[in-house]
Symmetry: C2
Subunit: 117 residues, 2 copies
Amino acid sequence: MGRTTFILRQRAYLKLYMLQKAEKGNLYGLQILGDLMDYFDDLAYKPTKSEVYKSLHELLKEGLIKRKWIEKEGTEMQEVAVYQISDMEKVKAYKALVKIDLDRSIALLNRALKDHF
Amino acid sequence: MGRTTFILRQRAYLKLYMLQKAEKGNLYGLQILGDLMDYFDDLAYKPTKSEVYKSLHELLKEGLIKRKWIEKEGTEMQEVAVYQISDMEKVKAYKALVKIDLDRSIALLNRALKDHF
DNA sequence: ATATGAACATTATGTTCATAC
DNA sequence: GTATGAACATAATGTTCATAT
């Protein structure tokens, strides 16, 4: 209950990008946030720290990615968490599901565009 | 605060359809719901009674539409509320704003489609 | 039973605080 | 100050209840 049938959640949207970052395997949380902030700047979408961390944590918990603590470049004793894909099969399955919702969401928005504008 | 910069809200989406129904001027709440349920059935979007009424109430409060109580067809003493546009200038201004958000939202979703699939 | 609407509950998401370096 | 994360607050939306016909 309480679950919308409308458009895919921001969380799911962000998780796609988290997986993409994890494939590179060398970025930590706040770097990812900064990257996405820049990347979406033209569309005025400003993801928050909270959503980025929650997206990463969910993917960890679901076993799609794993975390590694490494020393931050240029410093000593400053550990940051970087992420890597841990189960490519799960990733593929997850993405296939999200794609369905994404296609559906785009169709919903395009329908409104056609109906009203 | 607390406001997302992500995709346009369901409420805004539905309000577009409420305005369209109000232009016809002869449907009441649950009829609109039924119509939309059918209309979005292929995309598995199932708006709720609550969202439909809240969308109508917001538009009323904002002065874009007005309400008329009429006797339900075929019955006596059963009053239903139908809606009509009350201020076309406001409607145009509202739709222009929503279009910006709608275009932006479509762009966000298409970007994810391009980036991940 | 159908129609309207409010009250309530739960999610989804944003903001602030705590801890460590 | 930067990084991680939890705790907290609010907003968006779904579910249930009340009232009337």
